[in-house]
Amino acid sequence: MKKSIFGVALLFFVAFMILAAFGMRPFGEPTVSEMDDYYIQNAQAETGANNVVTTIVFDYRGFDTLGEATVLFTAVIGITALFREAVK
């Protein structure tokens, strides 16, 4: 009984996924691309760095990187608190 319910649910899920895959946009044609175009056109001139991904991570979206660094710092604090006996 349980297995048949799971099987029907799986069938529905797979059918939905296949239908959604047919309705996807073609690769390389996003709906809105103003932001991407701005980065690709101006990143090299504005920041002077060749790697556009790094300019986004460390310059345009610097707050995100600050959060990631803080997450790592918090992880270290958590590990140190967990193994307090070993740190001594």
């Binding site: 001139a45 920041t47 002077g48 760095a49 460390f58 990187t65 270290v76 967990l82 193994f83």
Partner: protein, 159 residues
């Protein structure tokens, strides 16, 4: 109980861990020119430390890798990152004041495809180095602390 691995593993580790560390720092420093950056390069450097801990055990690396120094480097990296973010506060937080200024890391890049100049990018290379220091030191602290903690729990189980 002996914690070291076999002689083959120890010899290979001694040969290659320096190259892994140098490659990690190369990825960090060239973050604004080639794929990679602070996080990726820091993870590569930390993988060399993990290799050392796995090979020589927690006792064998005592005095060579020290948790206090790693902790200091980690805090220094994070503080350096935040300080250089605050330098741009005249315009906005995280504004790149040193880009195209002509000073340190201040050359302007050639537009289009080019091999790249290390002296470009403004604050981006400095932030890459800061984040790289923070990441490799943080992962080093995690590796050292967890290996020491696992040793203590093993001792407790055996006693």
């Amino acid at each position: 109980m002996k914690e070291e691995m076999s002689r083959i593993v120890r010899t290979i580790t001694t040969l290659i861990y320096g190259f892994i560390i140098v490659f990690g720092f190369y990825v960090i420093v060239h973050g604004h020119l080639t794929p990679g950056g602070g996080f990726q390069g820091g993870a590569i450097v930390a993988s060399a430390f993990a290799l050392l801990v796995v090979t020589y055990g927690n006792q064998g690396i005592k005095g060579f890798l020290q948790k206090d120094i790693f902790s200091l480097i980690e805090s220094t990296g994070l503080v350096l990152f935040i300080v250089f973010a605050f330098f741009g506060l005249g315009v906005t937080f995280f504004y790149n004041i040193m880009a195209n200024s002509g000073g340190l890391f201040g050359n302007s890049a050639i537009i289009g495809v080019n091999p790249g100049d290390l002296n470009t990018g403004g604050t981006i290379p400095i932030m890459n180095i800061a984040v790289g220091l923070e990441v490799f030191a943080a992962l080093g602290v995690i590796i050292l602390t967890m290996s020491a903690g696992s040793e203590i729990s093993r001792k407790k189980e055996n006693s």
